[in-house]
């Protein structure tokens, strides 16, 4: 009897049909169309301005295309209005964002918003954020970060700052001031007065300090600025010239180059104890060190092979391995916060490039070029790179201008970052929230 039962069961199982399987290999990668409705509010300015900032942030990422509000069929009057999904599907929106701004008795504004999947017909996210009214731009950036993260699965980079060197004046008396602004160019502030030249600002990952090189006292040295008090202190007067500083991922150490008697090596400086450790001891010029995000390795460039090439070593200076083998010279390597790429500057046949390679040196791609492009810096999510480009005013190369640019890692979307004057040496901050 058991045998009959088993036979019947087997017969039953095999009689159930296999479903039809189809493989879809590849996809398109257009910006995702989304709709952002005005945020309902008694404050008509904010109800318009906040969605505008969110839209500008998302569109600048080139991952989203915001559908013109003129095309909206349904007016989302209130936060609790349920979308008529067919109306939003009809205008091609994949996602819908709408919100509401209220003013609390405490003087703060409370911004609530919802993110909807128009085709799945379900809410993807909803949040309420509160802040002082004057911080409305920050709220807008955080909303954009939230949407970006929910729709891409990766952290955003909109609530961030960019430090850079603002340049003014003639070449023989060039003023170079340390400046900082939001990643969209708003809220510009100058951190140094321009009396002495500042260069290569670098944020501590915990955002408590900024290190930069300055010529105060006539000798280039490293300075640390407290990001809250703006107080500045020198890192110590060393016998040589110190430059190219970067923080370790835990913000406790600085790695930098120091030049003594014509040779430059890489050093590690512990900020609390002041202990200094020499990491390279080669007779060649070793410089531009940058930590991997896990803090275990350091990429740097060296001319020990005859030309400037990129090398990776352990964070204690051991196990040095060359990773770049292409034509030309490589410089200013910067490890991606995501850990998957190293950005660098390359010069080949008289042209400068910004490029990317994997940490093992494979997959080199050059994503931007120019008469002089330099100083790549990563957005905190490792998707965008800011750099600066110098362009000559005439064919003889006289009268250059310097501007900041952003490009995504695909290499297809480059845009200028507007600054009031010339700008160089950008440095992208971590997320501010």
């Amino acid at each position: 009897m058991k045998k009959i039962f088993l036979i019947l069961l087997t017969f039953f199982i095999t009689s159930v049909r296999a479903e039809l399987r189809i493989s879809i290999d590849g996809a398109k990668s257009d910006p995702t169309p989304i709709a952002i409705a005005d945020f309902s509010s008694q404050n008509s300015d904010l109800s318009r301005l906040i969605p505008q900032i969110v839209q500008a942030d998302l569109e600048r990422s080139h991952l989203f295309r915001v559908i013109d509000q003129e095309a909206h069929i349904q007016q989302m009057d209130q936060l609790n209005t349920t979308p008529r999904f067919a109306d939003w599907q009809a205008i091609g929106a994949h996602a819908l964002i709408h919100g509401e701004i209220t003013e609390g008795l405490d003087g703060k504004i409370h911004v609530s918003f919802r993110v909807w999947d128009v085709y799945a017909q379900q809410q993807l996210d909803a949040k309420t954020l509160s802040t002082a009214p004057e911080s409305w731009r920050k709220i807008a950036h955080i909303i954009a970060d939230t949407i970006y993260e929910r729709l891409t699965g990766e952290k955003g980079y909109f609530d961030t700052k960019i430090a850079f060197i603002s340049e003014k004046g003639n070449a023989d008396k060039r003023e170079r001031r340390l400046a900082i602004m939001d990643q969209d160019g708003a809220n510009l502030r100058y951190l140094t007065d321009g009396k002495s030249m500042a260069m290569t600002p670098r944020f501590a990952p915990n955002m408590k300090e900024i290190v930069y090189m300055s010529y105060q006292g006539g000798k280039p040295q490293l300075y640390l600025m407290d990001s809250k008090t703006m107080n500045t202190r020198t890192l110590g007067t060393f016998e040589g010239m110190s430059f190219a500083p970067r923080f370790s991922p835990d913000s406790k150490n600085l790695v930098y180059s120091m030049s003594k008697r014509g040779n430059s090596d890489i050093y590690l400086y512990h900020l609390e104890t002041g202990k200094r450790t020499q990491l390279t001891t080669h007779s060649a010029i070793d410089t531009s060190p940058s930590f991997s995000p896990d803090g275990k390795r350091i990429v740097f460039n060296s001319d020990r092979s005859g030309r400037q090439q990129l090398y990776v070593m352990n964070s204690d200076g051991s196990n040095v391995q060359r990773i770049s083998f292409g034509e030309g010279s490589y410089a200013t390597p910067v490890w991606s916060p995501r850990g998957d790429y190293i950005a660098f500057t390359k010069i080949k046949n008289g042209t400068f490039y910004i490029g990317l390679m994997r940490p093992d040196g494979s997959g080199e791609r050059l994503i931007a070029d120019g008469w002089l492009v330099e100083g790549p810096t990563w957005s905190p999510n490792g998707r965008m790179i800011a750099f600066w480009r110098q362009t000559p005013m005439d064919k003889r190369g006289k009268g250059q201008t310097a501007k900041l640019y952003m490009i995504d890692i695909t290499g297809y979307h480059e845009s200028e970052l507007q600054t009031s004057g010339d700008a160089s040496d950008p440095e992208w901050s971590p997320l501010m929230h």
């Binding site: 009897m1 058991k2 019947l8 017969f11 039953f12 009689s15 049909r17 039809l20 189809i22 879809i24 290999d25 590849g26 996809a27 398109k28 990668s29 080139h62 994949h94 999947d117 799945a120 891409t152 699965g153 990766e154 070449a171 023989d172 060039r174 030249m197 010529y215 006539g218 000798k219 190219a244 180059s257 014509g262 460039n301 400037q308 200013t332 010069i347 046949n349 008289g350 042209t351 400068f352 490039y353 997959g363 080199e364 791609r365 070029d369 008469w371 362009t391 000559p392 005013m393 003889r396 190369g397 006289k398 250059q400 201008t401 640019y405 695909t410 290499g411 297809y412 480059e414 845009s415």
Partner: protein, 282 residues
């Protein structure tokens, strides 16, 4: 005795239920003509070993070069190349370690001394034309400059899609041409973030319940992978099913209802494997 009766009853019930699910092909006489046979002139068609071809627009594009080519003509910047006397500085790692810097100007890059007219507006660089073709994702700038951007992939017409599959091998149920057609339509409906991390390791499996008229009853993601990008990619894959289903006569599911109505039981449940980077992107 009771146990025996119970097992017998259970067995017979199982038999009856299984018979309800069976399809006795040999008892049927097909009244409807089978799908029309495509006449293909083999002298004009290159036969590949597989006909699961990517779209024509995609297949034209070459994979990105790893190392840029030697000396290519660069459009605008070439004209602005610095003359010998104003050669751009070697890529300075950071400020150059001059042995004994006397003052600030001494360690300035040489380019500084040549600036005389800083007020003149800089020509804005030409923005590169975006190309969302995944085959050329992550291409090198030199390669991008060299190639004319590929036209945006168009929705293939039925004929075009059928042209892609010409091998003629018939599957049990679905012709390979129709399979290609459905896959290419869904590929066009699937919009993803091409720069997402680990995208080349992600596969999304979607189970789709299709009505007899080709409309979608439901779609559900049936696998999970532990990558941050998996959730948005799986949501976009599921969305692709619904977007495609709304395309009327261009819906990939319409072809099932039109050509395989008699085999509804075979396609009422579809298992779709979405592989974002499985088309030889790298």
């Amino acid at each position: 005795m009771q146990r025996k009766a119970l097992l017998l009853s259970l067995g017979l019930h199982t038999l009856v239920i299984s018979l309800m699910f069976m399809d006795f092909h040999f008892t049927k006489e097909y009244t409807k003509a089978p799908p029309a046979i495509l006449m293909v002139d083999l002298t004009k068609v290159k036969i590949a070993s597989e006909t699961n071809l990517p779209q024509k627009s995609i297949s034209k594009k070459q994979s990105p070069k790893v190392e840029p080519k030697k000396e290519e003509p660069k459009p605008a910047p070439k004209a602005d190349k610095p003359k010998p006397e104003v050669k751009p500085p070697e890529p300075k790692p950071e400020p150059k370690p001059a042995p004994a810097p006397k003052d600030a100007v001494a360690v300035q890059p040489p380019k500084e001394e040549k600036k005389k007219e800083p007020t003149k507006p800089a020509p804005t660089p030409k923005p590169k034309k975006p190309d969302y073709n995944l085959k050329s994702l992550l291409a090198s700038v030199e390669k991008v400059r060299q190639d004319a951007p590929a036209p945006q992939s168009q929705q293939p017409t039925t004929e075009e899609a059928l042209d892609n599959g010409t091998e003629g091998r018939m599957d049990k149920i679905l012709t390979i041409s129709h399979r290609d057609f459905i896959a290419s339509k869904l590929r066009d409906c699937w919009n993803i973030d091409g720069g997402a991390q680990n995208i080349d390791e992600i596969v999304v499996e979607v189970k789709v319940w299709v009505n007899k008229d080709g409309s979608i009853r439901d779609a559900k993601v049936v696998n999970h992978m532990n990558f941050p990008a998996f959730r948005p990619l799986s949501e976009s894959a599921r969305r692709a099913v619904f977007i495609c289903a709304q395309k009327g006569d261009e819906s990939p599911f319409k072809i099932l209802s039109e050509h395989y109505a008699d085999h509804y039981n075979d396609w009422k449940e579809l298992h779709l494997n979405f592989n974002p980077m499985n088309a030889n992107v790298f």
